[in-house]
């Protein structure tokens, strides 16, 4: 008998249909993957099962957990079920924990609330659970606070919280999306072992086909509130039926077509760059120790070249980016753009040669400005604003596939992918030689990401642009760069032609990164 059986689940919020006739079953002890892009309703499916739907949501159909219909159970009884028989792991470990309570208290809380243990017993069980998720007592005593832990460690605390009462069903909503690849691999391994050893069922919600193919037994592919295809993971990847599944698969492994035409003319030279930050003072009257965020980094970027910079969070790539953009000064070493020195005081004419696209399509724009003004902002670097500013904004929008009529709109009227196109238009408006792409496609859905990668490849060919492509996502870097640098703890540990580095990594860290990257099955057929 299946553990969770969802039949004809329909959901609408304020009259807008969100889920349409979902049917699926989750067996005890299996990993059930739900894959889809944003807006496909995958998170709402989870929230419906947890009875945590937002205000104005109306659900119909049934969702039986061993005979109990979760949709018709009143809130008071749902409180008894949540955390007890179904538990949930959220995407963002930074906000899923209460910053003012210790990790021990937060794990013990579930046990105490459900009346399963006294405070003292609960703390003992919390200790066991934290040990179980890989946070040993020696390094992670119960009185640690969330801010003392890294993202991956916090996610382990969230998992310990979820498994405290040994629920039958665990729902994980994008549990590794906010994490680095190596951490992601560890968390996925932990989840998999929990399912195997504790006999829980896991619903894994993700946008990443590769993650699902790695650990799920069954997969459901969702699109616009419907399950378009479902089956065992092996079957689905061997024999995709639905065009949408094929499209997702193609987009996940998309390699844009482009011509590698790096010239032998260096644009950007970074020579022995060092940047340090003051750490908290240890003694009142002693100089605070300094942390080397960028430690003796050197590389050269040639005209027309796409150079990748790969590294995990905290490796110093953001610090390096800011130095290259002339926003922060270096402690020692030099950065030269077209042979001229890059500093925060560099002249505007030099500054105009390098532009940037950021990761977050939502935070990249002033919400109170219209698109025309947003895209035209870099004109500030010119001595005077060009007379044909409007025409040039229209041209830039056109070259990224947006309509000139979009100039009069505010940024909230656009989707994430469209915003990223506008960000690229803003970077293009001065026709720079170099664009720094700081995780520019990381926040996008796979199909949108494929389109943006195509756009970037096309622009680089047409306008002879060079890119410094900074990302933690190795598959994307592999798809679009000619040469790659691997950065760890402020240093570049490996560099070389992208294909060489990916097929024959020399440094242990590069090998670790590559091994941790989830991969689509080789025998998959689209």
């Amino acid at each position: 008998m299946s553990l969770l059986s969802v039949k004809n689940l329909n959901l609408s919020i304020h009259g807008v249909p969100i889920l349409k006739g979902l049917d699926f079953e989750v067996q005890p002890g299996e990993v059930f993957g739900i894959v889809g892009e944003s807006g496909s309703g995958k998170s709402m499916t989870a929230l419906a099962a947890m009875g945590l739907l937002p205000e104005g949501a109306v659900a119909s159909g049934t969702a039986h957990l061993e005979g109990i219909d979760l949709l018709s159970t009143p809130e008071a009884q749902m409180c008894g079920l949540r955390g007890n028989r179904i538990a949930m792991i959220f995407q963002e470990p930074m906000t899923a924990l209460n910053p003012v309570k210790t990790i021990g208290d937060q794990v013990a809380e579930t046990l105490v609330i459900h009346g399963r243990a006294s405070k003292a017993e609960a703390l003992k069980i919390a200790r066991e659970k934290l040990d179980r998720v890989g946070l040993p007592a020696a390094r992670f005593p119960l009185d640690r606070y969330p801010h003392e832990l890294s993202g991956g460690q916090r996610q382990r605390v969230v998992i310990a919280q979820a498994i405290a009462l040994r629920p039958q069903l665990l729902i994980a909503d994008e549990p590794t999306t906010a994490l680095d690849v190596t951490t992601q691999a560890q968390i996925l391994k932990l989840l998999k072992s929990l399912v195997n050893e504790e006999g829980m069922a896991l619903i894994l919600i993700t946008h990443d086909l590769a993650v699902v193919s790695d650990i799920a037994d069954h997969v459901a592919v969702m699109k616009l509130g419907e399950i378009v295809e479902t089956g065992t993971t092996v079957d689905i990847f061997r024999n995709m039926q639905h065009p949408y599944t094929k499209q997702l698969f193609a987009a996940s492994s998309h390699v844009p077509e482009r011509v590698a035409d790096a010239k032998d003319a260096p644009i950007l030279e970074v020579v022995n760059a060092v940047r340090t930050y003051a750490m908290p003072r240890e003694k009142l009257f002693r100089k605070p120790p300094r942390f080397k965020a960028v430690n003796d980094v050197s590389f050269t970027l040639f005209q027309g070249e796409n150079l990748g910079l790969v590294g995990e969070s905290g490796c110093g790539k953001s610090t390096l980016t800011r130095a290259i953009l002339g926003l922060d000064a270096l402690d020692s070493g030099q950065i030269r753009l077209f042979g001229q020195s890059v500093t925060p005081a560099m002249p505007n004419t030099l500054r105009a040669g390098v532009q940037v696209v950021f990761q977050d399509p939502y935070g990249s724009f002033n919400p109170r400005w219209k698109v025309e003004r947003l895209v035209a902002e870099p004109f500030h670097l010119m001595v005077e604003k060009p007379a044909d500013s409007r025409a040039r904004v229209a041209e830039a929008l056109d070259s990224v596939g947006m309509k000139p009529a979009d100039m009069g709109k505010y940024i909230h009227e656009f989707s994430g992918g469209q915003r990223q196109r506008i960000a690229i238009a803003r970077a293009l408006i001065l026709r720079p030689d170099l664009i720094v792409l700081d995780e520019a496609v990381s926040a996008l859905d796979v199909s949108i990401r494929a389109q943006i990668l195509d756009l970037l490849a096309d622009l680089s060919d047409r306008l002879n642009l060079s890119y410094l492509f900074i990302s933690h996502d190795l598959s994307v870097v592999r798809a679009i760069t000619d040469r790659v640098l691997v950065m760890k703890a402020g240093q570049i540990v490996e560099s070389g032609d992208t294909e060489d580095v990916f097929t024959n990594p020399q440094h242990a860290y590069t090998r670790e990164l590559l091994a941790a990257t989830p991969r689509l099955p080789d025998n998959a057929v689209a």
């Binding site: 953009l325 505007n348 870099p378 004109f379």
Partner: protein
């Protein structure tokens, strides 16, 4: 968009007093500077709608002219607060973590550390009681309020990517503060402005109650209360009406502030839905 009920009610209350103050420039039922002893201490009647005081002056006329004083003092005091506090706050935020930030914010703490009304009394006592000195005294204590709130809000905006984009476009801190930060914190300032406005009216009333605000013969709500104090047993209306005027203006402004926050703060707006 539907306006919140608090905004309509609060705005309505405040509008009544604002209208009274504006009308008083053109017309009042009686001239407040002319004494009319024969008709002193009248209860509210057809001639003196809200009664008359011990010198025979019409209470309604005095309230209308008094509203003018209160509102003028509060507007200028809030103006001083925003005019100096906002640039200081933006300046501190732009130099976050530097000694300049420290100096500005610790200076704020210093001003905050003094009980505002006591210092206002001190200032007016030293420089002589007048409406102008009351305005300055109240205004000074508005500076740190606006400096703090604008620095706090600006700091969270400085971390956003569009600020980095503006810096890549070569814009300096002043330009970024004016073009990017200010429009995005304006809603907070408007809300805080209405709250400070009501506090300004209260402070002005308190100062003139102890005789340190606007000087006679200019009527003010606080002094009307003070004058009526000895006669409260046989002429309670003398205290009642200025008291109600203060209560309703302050209530109106606070409700209005709440209502404005509901409209202007997107975070609250979302959770209300």
């Amino acid at each position: 968009m539907r306006l919140p009920r608090t905004l309509i009610l609060g705005g309505g209350l405040f509008a009544v007093f604002l209208a009274a103050a504006l009308v008083s420039f053109l017309w009042t039922p009686f001239d407040v500077e002319i004494l009319n002893i024969p008709s002193k201490l009248q209860k509210p009647n057809a001639v003196f709608w809200l009664g008359s005081d011990h010198l025979g002056r019409d209470i309604l006329s005095m309230l209308m002219v008094g509203a003018r004083t209160s509102i003028a003092v509060a507007i200028v005091a809030v103006g001083i607060g925003i005019g100096l506090g906002l640039p200081l706050g933006l300046w501190a935020a732009a130099n976050h973590g530097s000694w300049l930030d420290e100096v500005i914010m610790r200076g704020n703490d210093l001003v905050f550390a003094f009980p505002s009304l006591v210092i206002a009394i001190l200032i007016t006592a030293v420089f002589g009681p007048s409406a102008l000195n009351a305005i300055i005294a109240i205004g000074i204590f508005n500076i740190p309020v606006f400096a703090r709130i604008s620095r706090g809000a600006a700091l969270s905006i400085w971390t956003l990517d569009y600020i980095l984009a503006a810096r890549v476009a070569g814009k300096n801190a002043v330009r970024i503060s004016v073009e990017h930060i200010l429009p995005n914190i304006a809603n907070l300032l408007i809300v805080q402005g209405t709250i400070q406005f009501s506090l300004g009216i209260l402070a002005e009333a308190a100062l003139s109650y102890v005789g340190l605000g606007a000087q006679p013969p200019t009527p003010s709500w606080g002094r009307m209360l003070a004058d009526s104090q000895t006669m409260i047993s046989f002429a309670p209306h003398l205290a009642l009406f200025p008291g109600l005027a203060i209560v309703f203006t302050v209530l109106g402004l606070n409700l209005m502030g709440d209502g404005l926050r509901d409209i202007l703060d997107p975070k609250i707006r979302r959770s209300r839905r």
